[in-house]
Symmetry: C2
Amino acid sequence: MSVTAAQGFVAAGAACGVKASGALDLAIVATADGRPVPAAATFTRNKAAAAPVQVCRAHLAHTDGHAAAVVLNSGNANAATGADGREHATRMASTTASALGCDTEHVLVCSTGLIGIPLPIDRIDKAIPDLAASAMHRSSNSGDAARAIMTTDTADKQVVIARDGFTVGGMAKGAAMLAPDMATMLAVLTTDALVDPVVLQTALAAAVAGSFNRLSVDGCTSTNDTVILLASGRAGRVDPAALADAVFDACLSLAKQMAADAEGATKVVTVTVEGARTNDEARQAARKVAESQLTKCSWYGQDPYWGRVASDLGTAGVEFDIDRLSVRYGGVEVCRGGVAVAHDEAALASHMAGRAIELTADLGLGTGVDWILTNDLTHAYVDENMGTS
Amino acid sequence: MSVTAAQGFVAAGAACGVKASGALDLAIVATADGRPVPAAATFTRNKAAAAPVQVCRAHLAHTDGHAAAVVLNSGNANAATGADGREHATRMASTTASALGCDTEHVLVCSTGLIGIPLPIDRIDKAIPDLAASAMHRSSNSGDAARAIMTTDTADKQVVIARDGFTVGGMAKGAAMLAPDMATMLAVLTTDALVDPVVLQTALAAAVAGSFNRLSVDGCTSTNDTVILLASGRAGRVDPAALADAVFDACLSLAKQMAADAEGATKVVTVTVEGARTNDEARQAARKVAESQLTKCSWYGQDPYWGRVASDLGTAGVEFDIDRLSVRYGGVEVCRGGVAVAHDEAALASHMAGRAIELTADLGLGTGVDWILTNDLTHAYVDENMGTS
């Protein structure tokens, strides 16, 4: 169900030969009648944004935030591909539009895979009409679509949030530490709520900030990151706050599924900073710890080496006084007032041995708090990212 | 010779039991007559600066930039050790001062090793008088001192720059990717030039900016980083520009020795960014690439995956237009105008297989240029940093 759980949407997946393995690599999510509906989106802030991101931005600006479909391929990011890449992304949209009977500008495009390699557009172009037909005829479904956007993911990521009178569904790709060889993440969400594009965009932006943007695998922002939300309106008007809440829950579920799909990682770590001067400083500090190569290695070794955390916090660019610092792993306080404190070694070792590690640093300066979800740095991460082949 | 090559300095190393292995772990560099001379220093900018860094700053402020000796220990960083740590660092200085017959404020202190563990001050305190005596009586030497500050280093780092009429010598610890379990780096330099403290500080700050600060292993700034330069004046007045040049050469040699001592790394990589809007933007962009976990893994795999470099540059926070980007590995251009270009595959593979990799990214926007020296991210790095034991 997922991306077709909300009323008024169809989806399909197919294999068109971008992936040499023959696995599913082409997906579509469309309105059931091929007509445009309000659409919101957030994109990577990378200045090397890929061709499909550039095309999406242009289309949404042109349509004032409306779309009838999203067409997605995996296996090639169509990034660092110049003018040819932009033409290829536009062709994906125009071929999809022809199949659905809508305008090219009402089709959004996503790609994920290797950077700097020309997109095999002919294979994609040829497969799109059948893909669109199978979506419209329900001969393929949202499960196929979710699988068709996977790269190094070991499992598809889908979510359905059913609320009083409306539904939000979605699918995503992105596999924690395995992902970065590819564009880090894509997500497509749908809802049947009746909502203006501006309200939809506000809800999506807040949800992304609180979910996907709290997931930091290695600090690398990809060329293709895209989150799209389409609203069919079939369920009628809803309370904007209720919609925002459901969109947030859907995004957070998908983000957590990404963190959990960590074949290259052995730990899912929540880094919480509290007692910061502001929430923004708390997040900045949590991100610094989450992205520290040294600290990530220590988690892999199940080593509660809080001295590295103190060192990370001291260079996070936020107000910091080590004499006020306390650090807890799980419920076990290992540092208070900036120095080591006696603690239950067995309880600490047990927490560090688990798959989920909870690290909390209290800066002792104010009421600011925030958290980041991340992983450990492992041999498998290095293996996954040593080469493109 | 190294740190005693310039006239007027003595040095010694000893084993006092901080390292369980029994290896050398205590060093001293002092003026031959125990009297203070102009001293310059640069320190970590980490807000969790270790106790010895705090003591050094206070002493140099108190003496207006003069010192008679530096006492250093390895095996314990005396960082995140609170008020006790500050008292221990001060005690190292006062015991050394008693042995040399100078003021406590004329002794500088460095420590390197694990963070957050109380310093075994009694062992250090007990060993200092004999250490000072062996320096004064030349029964130990600069080689012992250089070995006594090693942590995960596989070789000691020493340098002598002999110029017309004066000499600069130095020693350092810091072993590229192996170092970060420990405080990242320490260096002590000496010269016999006669120079005012302000001129000395200016020369050292410029040299550090152009050498040690161009070395980025993993983006982590340690709690203990310290570079100290003492000037005995025995060689008389020298041209300040000539001194600055010699100090720079000495620091660059030590920085390169650190990069080369990369047991955990298989590559020494020079990342050069040219064609940036400014030199500062070039350095910022080079640092972003040098600290990218993804790109570092690709070097380990000998993979010239320039798409990741483009993605790194797009998030470096500098002016960037991918359509103007070209990328070279060695002399082989792999990307021009933001897209892949045909190139000599054999020459490229040969360059990537070597120990030294030269990556150059031309942003095509201006005349700004700078470079950063770094390493690849390897299994051995993960091994070295998984645990403290």
